[in-house]
Every structure is written in C-alpha cells, then in structure tokens.
C-alpha cells in the first residue's frame, strides 16, 4: 500500500501521464470536470478575499471588531464569535459524514450512502439556517448595511454580505445537490451500472464548500 503511494507520487508519472499516447487523467470524466469547476471557483472566492484584503488595507476608517459584532449572549454569558464557531463545527461535522458516505460508495452500500448524505445535507441546512439568523441579527438589530454601519468602515458590510452570501449560496446549492444524489441512490438509479462515482463527485463539491469556509473564518471573522 505505502509502496503504491510512493510510486504514485513520483514525478515520473507526471511525464508518463502527459506524454504517453493515452488519456492524461485516468479518472472518471465527471470527477475531472468537478475538479476543474472547483479550481475555477477557487479563483472566484480568491478574488473576493483579495478584494477584501485590499479594501481593508486601503481604508483609513477603523475596521469593526468582528469578534464583538458576532458575539452572542448565551445563558447570560457574552461569548465572542460563538455562532460562527458553532457554524464552523457544524460544517466540519458535515464534511466528516460526507467523507464516510463517499467511503461507503465504494462498497455500494445504498442504505448507508443515503443516510449519511441526508445527514450531511441536514447539517448543511442548519448551517444556512444559522446564517439566516446571523444576517437578520446584523441587519435588523445592529443596522449593518452594505453601505455603512455604526461600528466603523462601511466596507465591512459590503464585504460581509458579498462573501458570506456567496458562500451561503454555495451551501444551499450543495444541500439541494446532495439531497438529489441521495434520492437517486436510494431510488436505485445506479443499481444497473454499479457506478457510484457521483457520490464522490458530490463529496468533492461539499468538501470544497467546507474548505472555503476555513478561509472565510480565518480572514474575515478572526483577522
């Protein structure tokens, strides 16, 4: 096993794969397309984050304290950033259940695939629900707008709504995508071909959504 991994990671295979008279990437077509989509999506989110870095370095107005803006009082204790921390744990957990679903896809265990994917989607839906709560708190209670807020630089609002909104949109699409695939798995759409690649492909998308959140969490909420 380890020998196999060493062989695979060697640079010689890169030359072989690109120069031999064969397909360069010996993986399912849909998986390669998902990877190309994810790489392009990486650039979209990176442009948002670099744009955020730029406006934040260029503004002479004070940046609000995200830690305080996103604080919540739970059981009489004021906890900084607590909702965001909970959302982070939920997304990581959903990534874990998704990874297990992908694993059971290799055993073609329909029951477990369906169950784990639905659980993943439910975690995703609860993430979006918390985001709705967070947005409405910021809009209605704190009066934060894309063009201004009481806590400092107006760009705080525009960046926040744009980046978390775009990420939330990705999560929402992911929830629908996962439920759709889970439903198709249970219906037996892949019984005949025995090809469950779609679960791994959907999994890649879902892990990517989690990955993007890691960067948003670090750069927007913690910075």
């Amino acid at each position: 096993m380890s020998q196999e991994i060493i062989n695979k990671s060697s640079w010689g295979t890169v030359v072989d794969d690109w120069s031999a008279d064969k397909e360069t990437f010996p993986i399912p077509w849909g998986k390669l397309m998902m990877w190309l989509f994810l790489v392009s999506d990486t650039f979209i989110f990176s442009c948002f984050l670099v744009g955020y870095m730029h406006v934040r370095s260029v503004t002479t107005e004070p940046w609000p304290y995200p830690s305080e803006v996103f604080a919540l009082t739970l059981f009489g204790v004021n906890l900084p950033l607590i909702l965001i921390a909970i959302m982070t744990f939920i997304l990581i957990t959903s990534s874990g259940t998704m990874a297990l679903a992908v694993r059971y896809a290799h055993f073609k265990d329909k029951q477990k695939i369906f169950l784990l994917m639905v659980v993943t989607a439910l975690f995703g839906a609860s993430f979006v629900g918390m985001q709705v709560f967070e947005w409405s708190k910021l809009i209605f209670e704190e009066g934060i707008r894309p063009w201004g807020n009481a806590f400092g630089a107006p760009q705080f609002g525009s960046i926040f709504f744009m980046i978390t909104g775009f990420h939330g949109f990705h999560v929402t699409c992911g929830v629908i995508y996962l439920l759709w695939v889970a439903f198709k798995v249970r219906r037996g759409d892949y019984d005949k071909s025995g090809n469950y690649d779609i679960v791994e492909i959907a999994g890649l998308y879902w892990h990517f959504v989690d990955l993007v959140w890691v960067f948003i969490f670090a750069f927007f909420y913690l910075w």
């Binding site: 940046w63 201004g148 892990h207």
Partner: protein
C-alpha cells in the same frame, strides 16, 4: 492505471477519516481560542494562518482524497492557484500606496480609533472600554 487499480486504492480504513475529523475539530477550537483569549498583533496572525493552512491541508489531502491521486492531477489542481500569490502581492503593494496617499494628501488618520460594540450600544454589552469615541459617521 486502470479502474480496478483505482477502486482498490480508493478504499481507506474508516479510522483515517475519524482521525482527521477530530483533528479538524481541535484545530477549529484552537483558532477560536485565539480570538477568545484575544491574542493580538503578529501572534494572532501567525496562529490564525497556521491553523487555517493545517485545516485546509487536511481537508484537501484526506477528505478530498488528493493525497491518493496521481501527481498529474495534483499538480493540475494545486499549481494554478499559486498565481494568486502574485495578485496578493500586487494588491497589497497597491493598497499600501493608496493608503499612504490618503494619509499624506487627504489628511485622513493613519491609525483610526476602533469602535467597540459597547461604545455604540452602551454598557449592556460586556467587552468594550471607553465611551467617548462613539461618534458614528456613516
């Protein structure tokens, strides 16, 4: 490499997923604690970046199976985003310059006093200190 090889290589013991899962929990907790204990300055940025990169690395390597892919695919995925470093470099240089001109020629403050949430809401919120600079402009 044919599909049979792939199928064999793709099945990994369940333990590795659970271990990475726990590791991600620990790393997230640590990055939350950076904020909770209010580390500031370079300590804060270094810790945040380290925890972020570790989390991202484990997600990509294990959850997205990249460590088990062939090098041709790994390079196709991971090398193109490296050009973003150029963009980051250009934008931060440009931002420094624009910030400097705003301070030098437009009389804007070099270090504006940050506003605590408690300055705006009053003492109901726990964390802040002074109340004198709660001027709200926007």
């Amino acid at each position: 490499m044919n599909t049979a090889d792939n199928a064999q290589a793709d099945i990994h013991p369940i333990g590795i997923y659970l271990k990475v899962w726990i590791l991600l929990f620990v790393l997230s907790t640590l990055s939350y604690l950076v904020d909770y204990f209010d580390f500031q300055g370079y300590t804060r940025w270094t810790l945040i970046i380290i925890f972020m990169l570790l989390k991202a690395g484990w997600i990509i390597a294990v959850f997205m199976h990249v460590m088990w892919e062939r090098m041709a695919l790994i390079t196709t995925i991971l090398l193109p985003p490296l050009v973003l470093l150029v963009l980051i470099g250009l934008m931060s240089t440009e931002a420094d310059y624009a910030f400097g001109t705003r301070v030098d020629y437009m009389g804007q403050p070099e270090a504006a006093t940050r506003i605590h949430v408690s300055d705006v809401h009053g003492s109901a919120h726990a964390s802040g200190q002074a109340e004198d600079h709660a001027t709200v402009g926007h």
